[in-house]
């Protein structure tokens, strides 16, 4: 059965490119553009991996961290990759405390991202 992947990003071009790339590699892909949409999807489907951008359009400014907390509380079996162009030691510590599986710099070449996703889905739970 295809692995389920959730992509959370508010940049339409990025969502489009990632969705097409991962679908072509056999993943079952859903996409969300905002925090509440991602949380609603996570409440109703089980995903192997979530790839979330740190910053989405919204009032928090760090919605990616909110998504990590939601996953840890509601679907701890889901692996999470946080993408950010604003890396810092504090942010990395905060993300690790919230259970991130992997933090990657934006922009990230899609083949490298796919490699990271495959490594996570093959990891023992």
């Amino acid at each position: 059965m295809a692995q389920r992947l959730l992509i959370v990003d508010d940049e339409e071009a990025i969502v489009f490119a990632m969705q097409r790339y991962f679908r072509s590699r056999g993943f079952d892909v859903d996409c969300a553009r905002e925090l509440e949409e991602a949380e609603a999807l996570l409440s109703h489907s089980a995903y192997a991996v979530v790839i979330a951008d740190l910053r989405l359009t919204g009032v928090h400014g760090a919605e990616g961290l909110e998504i990590l907390s939601f996953i840890r509380e509601h679907c701890p079996w889901t692996k999470a990759i946080l993408l950010t162009a604003y890396g810092s030691i504090d942010l990395e510590r905060e993300a690790r405390e919230r259970g991130v599986s992997l933090m990657l710099r934006k922009p990230q070449p899609l083949p490298d991202l796919a490699h990271a996703v495959l490594a996570l889905v093959q990891e023992p739970a």
Partner: protein, 255 residues
């Protein structure tokens, strides 16, 4: 995202919501008779919100249940006005909307009148996802709707916040049992024990039990043996649009 406008805004724009109708059947003596049609709302086609569960979870996370319940009622009554015949219809509403939106009963009755639907044809299905059932204003709203002729159903009994307090305070005409308890009940004595207790409880309240999510003949048989005679699910009928119901009526068969 298709359509340009942000997702939440799109939900409140005209023509974005779709309505489907799924019958609840009374099954007795080998016959299936439609008892009422549940009105189901779906979000814009081509978005994640076309999935009902995702739609309502999203709206709740946005804190927009009240406003969205109003839009849903307007949308489903407009769609229901074109159904053939005069079927009874059930509409979903959050208990928190009845508590917080004092104008909701009046709006519902006005929209029903405009759609040419008698309140006596309506069943209000109350679903609650908020952690607490507040009470007084919602109970007042329920009383006024009952006086106008609506029947009352409690949705998702056995899950979430549809609890004993709601049963006691709302005194529903229908207990709608969630599919989680129904599916696989034919070979699960523990599910059967819970269903049996709910059937007895409903009987003591003078209410009727509706089993949701019936998908196999084995489940149907087990439910009948437990005394449940109102059934809903893909085994009996999938949700269909008003147009499909009209086409089926013109073809001389049930949708």
């Amino acid at each position: 995202m298709s359509g340009g406008a942000p997702l939440l805004e799109r939900l409140f724009q005209p023509g974005q919501l779709q309505t489907a109708f799924q019958p609840v059947f009374e099954v007795a003596d080998g016959r299936r008779t439609p008892h009422f049609l549940e009105c189901l709302t779906r979000g814009p086609a081509g978005t994640n919100l076309a999935r009902a569960g995702v739609l309502f979870e999203y709206v709740r996370r946005k804190g927009k249940e009240c406003a969205f319940d109003r839009v849903c009622v307007a949308s489903v009554l407009e769609a229901a006005a074109s159904l053939p015949g005069e079927p009874r219809l059930s509409l979903n509403v959050h208990a928190s909307t009845l508590e917080r939106d004092a104008g909701f009963p009046e709006l519902l009755l006005r929209l029903a009148e405009e759609a040419g639907i008698s309140p006596r044809r309506l069943v209000l299905e109350i679903v609650e996802h908020a952690p607490a059932w507040g009470g007084p204003r919602a109970l007042k709203a329920i009383e006024s709707l009952r006086r106008a002729g609506l029947a009352l159903a409690l949705d998702d009994i056995g899950l979430g916040q549809s609890n004993y307090r709601l049963i006691l305070e709302c005194h529903p005409d229908y207990f709608k049992i969630d599919a989680y308890l129904v599916q696989g009940c034919q070979h699960d004595p523990r599910r059967q024990a819970i269903l049996d207790s709910l059937v007895r409880l409903a009987d003591r309240f003078g209410s009727r039990v509706v089993a949701e999510g019936v998908e196999s003949n084995a489940e149907l048989l087990a439910l009948r043996l437990l005394g449940v005679d109102l059934l809903q699910g893909y085994l009996l009928a999938r949700p269909a649009s008003a147009e499909e119901f009209k086409a089926a009526a013109l073809g001389g068969r049930g949708a």
